[in-house]
Symmetry: C2
Subunit: 204 residues, 2 copies
């Protein structure tokens, strides 16, 4: 590993490189849609961004690093959006709002989110990023469950463990639905919301 990788912390002023870097990530995202991770070559990305392979390696150390950066960019977005969502104390409203937001997130970033999930195993960096994101959701779900009267704690039938299972249910259900259509996503959302409400004891 040479002294390359000045990919981080460039000037505050907008240099040509910042533009290129964004072009690379955008191209990567587009190619991911068209061909998928495996079929997408570093040459493809470089070409799409209007530079050569050699130049791309000035910005990123590897194909994995490119995708990791793309995931990081997207995940950043998720966190922002999540923070921005109005919080409410009323569990039913909180659940509805959370599901609504989740639909929007998957609508906009479904592809990158699916990619992140797929690569979590093989690219530790991405696994880290995604599991951290999941933790945020799990924590949020836990709070809602407890507020709705589910016993707090980490035992299998208490709020924390249930929140984890519900999170995975939502992740996987949306993962599949987002491959289909927006309509499927909406239906999936209804179903998940329903199970969440039941699990919280808010409907019988």
């Amino acid at each position: 590993m040479p002294s390359h990788h000045p990919a981080r912390s460039r000037r505050a002023t907008e240099r040509k490189g910042d533009l290129r870097e964004r072009a690379i990530l955008d191209t990567c995202e587009a190619l991911l849609t068209q061909k998928g991770y495996d079929a997408m070559t570093v040459g493809d990305i470089a070409q799409g961004a209007g530079i050569t392979r050699g130049a791309l390696y000035f910005y990123f150390g590897s194909k994995q690093e490119v995708v990791t950066a793309l995931v990081a960019r997207t995940v950043e977005h998720l966190w922002e959006r999540s923070r921005a969502t109005a919080q409410t104390d009323e569990p039913r409203q909180a659940i509805a709002a959370a599901m609504q937001r989740t639909v929007e997130l998957w609508d906009e970033h479904g592809l990158v989110m699916r990619t992140a999930i797929d690569l979590s195993l093989t690219v530790p960096e991405i696994g880290e990023l995604w599991s951290h994101t999941a933790d945020l959701f799990i924590t949020a779900i836990t709070v809602v469950l407890e507020r709705a009267g589910v016993e707090a704690g980490t035992e299998p039938e208490q709020a924390s463990a249930m929140a984890r299972a519900l999170c995975w249910m939502i992740e996987r259900t949306f993962y599949h639905a987002s491959q289909e259509s927006h309509e499927e996503l909406q239906k999936a959302s209804s179903t998940c919301e329903h199970i969440w409400l039941i699990s919280a004891g808010l409907i019988t």
Copy 2:
């Protein structure tokens, strides 16, 4: 594609090739544990099975084909086991039995099942196999839900859609837990069983 691939339908009598074929799949499974799919090379598999790369390509057309065959073998096992499990009409018992069986399956075949899930996207053959397997589970869950009194139908809040979501919850929860330990798997099972029971309206 040449006239290779006599991998299927060999003699009824046990030929040397059948033995080799099994050795290849066994080695593949072992290597999958040690290094994971990407790091595992065709050379590694061949070496482990005591043959050269060239010889391996006599049995399987590609690395993906090897793994697909391994998944197929494992999935076959799952189906057998599922058929063999005693059926009961009492929902509570049915759920408990199903979860118990699921724990056993993930204990024994967790690695291959995780691999199948990971490769579902990139290897259509495997995706097919796994989605068929999931359908079996979804159908089974649907039956239990309906028997427990959940309204039948495919709308978002009816049995079929709920069964799908519950199936994904179980898949993903076990996927993660099986990477940890048998204990985690047991806890995960309790949690999933609990949510399933609540969703079926069998406990409040």
